[in-house]
């Protein structure tokens, strides 16, 4: 039996990808996640739900995003043809809105009247606030006090969009603590509140649902490359924090055995026992956090470590459970790039392609050259340019020692 044929069918009924995933939540939340799963199944079966999504994608988000031949990057590296999937051209500047749209439409369908979300860099918070403004729902975004200080423009954006940004001071006051606080809010406001999780992680059905909403990236890319080149690519690449843009790109290619799936984690200041990185797969081990079993940065006692990345969007100690599984079975490969490598790739892309990439996809860009050369001149490679770099100019200036 070829078990690989079942890859598209994961997770199983219990929300498992092999040993990963599941529903590790407090009993108070169990009926809610079961209810969410029922509502999601109904929405999946309803053509009207898909039609509403498609309409918003076309006219509000700006999909399909282009598949762009990065000619000068290709020449520079001298290997496979490099294509960028331009998800940074979406409304709000990143792939995050694909998922928010799906979840908030589902919340409306379920009769929920209040949306909560967590955010690290602020991209998911901005995307959620955007959709909530458009659909007329109140939105509360939990954000670590440390991140609020680091990401002031996005905080102001969320407020302009009518969201309440609630500072989180518990723990280290960053993304994982914001997620803890959102879960505490949800467990308290069980009747009216929908928790819009920003990545393909959390209790089942979130990893599956977020993946499905983000899979529009891979579906488009697959059709676009077939139309343009008449064949499938040799590899698809994306950066990995929680991994929602990556799983969205990977998933429609998962049964195409000739297509390599390559994720790139944030190696921060290097992957070693100082844990100054956010590479959960390359530098962590399996554990349970935020509702799922997955690779995590943790110490010998199972305490969660903070990690580090120059990119706030990758700065999370875990990873979506499906990536943990794809790594274990060898279907996907997970590389890493340091802060410095990502910065170099950021500068290179700006100069060669006239595109300021976000620091998140700059990590994937940092490994694109090697992979392109490895595949060779006749090959094809697609990298998801999942966010634009406008939000990062202050961080980049700071890292380059420039005062603005």
């Amino acid at each position: 039996m070829d078990v690989r044929r079942n890859w598209q069918d994961l997770p199983d009924a219990e929300g498992r990808f092999g040993p990963y995933g599941g529903r590790f939540v407090a009993e108070t939340l169990m009926p809610l996640v079961l209810d969410l799963e029922r509502a999601y199944r109904e929405a999946q079966a309803d053509p009207a739900f898909a039609a509403t999504m498609a309409d918003f994608w076309t006219h509000y988000v700006g999909r399909p995003s282009p598949l762009y031949f990065a000619e000068r990057m290709t020449e520079h590296f001298g290997g496979a043809k490099i294509y960028f999937k331009r998800d940074e051209l979406n409304h709000t500047g990143a792939h995050k809105i694909n998922n928010c749209l799906g979840q908030v439409l589902l919340a409306l369908r379920m009769g929920k009247t209040r949306i909560i979300a967590e955010t690290g860099a602020g991209q998911h918070g901005v995307a959620t606030a955007t959709i909530c403004a458009r659909l007329g729902l109140p939105c509360v975004v939990f954000m670590g006090a440390t991140d609020i200080e680091r990401q002031k423009p996005n905080v102001f954006r969320m407020k302009l969009l009518g969201a309440e940004v609630r500072p989180v001071t518990s723990g280290a006051a960053t993304l994982k603590d914001a997620m803890n606080e959102a879960l505490r809010d949800w467990v308290t406001n069980v009747a009216d509140t929908f928790y819009c999780i920003g990545t393909a992680a959390g209790p089942h059905p979130y990893p599956e649902m977020v993946r499905d909403f983000q899979s529009v990236i891979g579906r488009e890319a697959r059709a676009q490359i077939l139309k343009r080149e008449g064949r499938l690519p040799d590899a698809v690449m994306a950066c990995i924090g929680g991994g929602s843009n990556a799983i969205g790109l990977f998933h429609p290619f998962i049964d195409d055995e000739g297509v390599r799936l390559i994720g790139v984690e944030a190696a921060g200041r290097g992957i070693d026992d100082r844990f100054e990185h956010s590479a959960a797969i390359n530098g962590g081990r399996p554990g349970v956090l935020h509702g799922n079993r997955t690779y995590l940065l943790q110490n010998a006692d199972g305490q969660i470590l903070e990690g580090h990345s120059i990119s706030a969007g990758l700065d999370y100690p875990g990873v979506g459970p499906e990536h943990s599984y794809l790594s274990d079975i060898g279907r996907a490969q997970y590389l890493s790039a340091t802060d410095d490598e990502a910065l170099e790739a950021f500068k290179l892309c700006a100069r060669l392609e006239g595109i300021l990439p976000a620091l998140e996809p700059s990590h994937a860009l940092a490994r694109v050259g090697e992979v392109a050369r490895e595949i060779g001149k006749d090959g094809l490679l697609i990298m998801n340019l999942c966010g634009r770099g406008d939000k990062d100019v202050f961080t980049v200036a700071d890292a380059l020692g420039v005062t603005l």
Partner: protein
């Protein structure tokens, strides 16, 4: 041992009173002060002890227990140290049930089999794992059965009748009723709500029912003790640790325990008399 819990509840039933379940966090504010509190709990009136093991991300806990966990971690607290405290406690007290309470990851990290053996060896009686619902606790159940340890299951206001069957299947020791949808230490449920919930649970199980979350004051404990088999208090005790000098922390906590114990002990004697 499940036996220690069963015996404790049987004794209390004969005495027609509810149990006070006292929660403290292991290694809060340090190993030795915590041991001093632990050792003093039965004398102060705790009938059952819940010993929390610290976790960096206590997502179902309010500010009091979050802070307690941070203090404990800062003092070098861990699951291993928690088991050591349990073992030292058992040397001083043979009859008072002691349950560990916390989150799944430190146990995952140690390994379910290793943990079950260590728990058994420490003389503790069972666990409450907040983020390990019945759907996910099969590995724990398998190893606990071998060692006669209890898995205390949680029921909540959102647990409907269908789900209750699932929650009770495999439960032992007692059932912990989380009386409000929320985090630990938040507002308490009303007397009427608690009474209705306890009656519903009693129809579904013969296990004793403990009620917790939001019980901070003697009056709230007294009202719950009239209907439930046990009252769980945690945040009110751990708050006492940080409000003054560390040298008197144990004294403050034990004084608070005595107050709550007094209220629980008098609850049914006073039943029917105007409040």
């Amino acid at each position: 041992m499940t036996q220690r819990l069963d015996q404790r509840f049987a004794t209390l039933k004969r005495a027609n009173r509810a149990a006070l379940v006292a929660y403290i966090m292991a290694s809060d504010p340090d190993h030795e002060t915590c041991f001093e509190i632990l050792r003093g709990l039965p004398g102060a009136g705790a009938d059952i002890i819940e010993l929390g093991f610290p976790f960096t991300d206590p997502m179902a806990d309010g500010p009091s227990i979050q802070k307690a966990a941070l203090r404990a971690l800062k003092a070098g607290g861990s699951l291993k140290h928690t088991l050591e405290l349990a073992r030292r406690f058992r040397e001083t007290n043979a009859d008072t049930p002691l349950i560990l309470m916390g989150y799944a990851n430190p146990i995952e990290s140690m390994g379910y089999e290793v943990f079950a053996e260590a728990l058994h060896a420490s003389g503790a009686d069972g666990v409450i794992i907040v983020d390990l619902p019945p759907e996910e606790d099969a590995p724990l159940r398998a190893t606990f059965a071998k060692h006669d340890l209890s898995i205390i299951r949680l029921a909540t206001p959102t647990t409907d009748d269908n789900r209750l069957t699932k929650v009770l299947d495999g439960a032992s020791g007692f059932v912990y009723y989380v009386s409000v949808a929320g985090v630990t230490g938040a507002n308490a449920a009303s007397a009427g709500e608690v009474r209705a919930a306890v009656e519903r649970l009693k129809r579904a199980t013969d296990l004793p029912i403990a009620v917790g979350f939001g019980v901070r004051e003697p009056e709230a404990a007294r009202v719950i003790a009239q209907t439930a088999d046990a009252v769980v208090v945690g945040s009110a005790f751990v708050d006492e640790i940080a409000v003054g000098a560390r040298a008197q922390a144990a004294e403050r906590v034990l004084r608070k325990v005595a107050q709550l114990s007094e209220a629980v002990r008098r609850a049914r004697a006073l039943e029917g008399t105007p409040a």
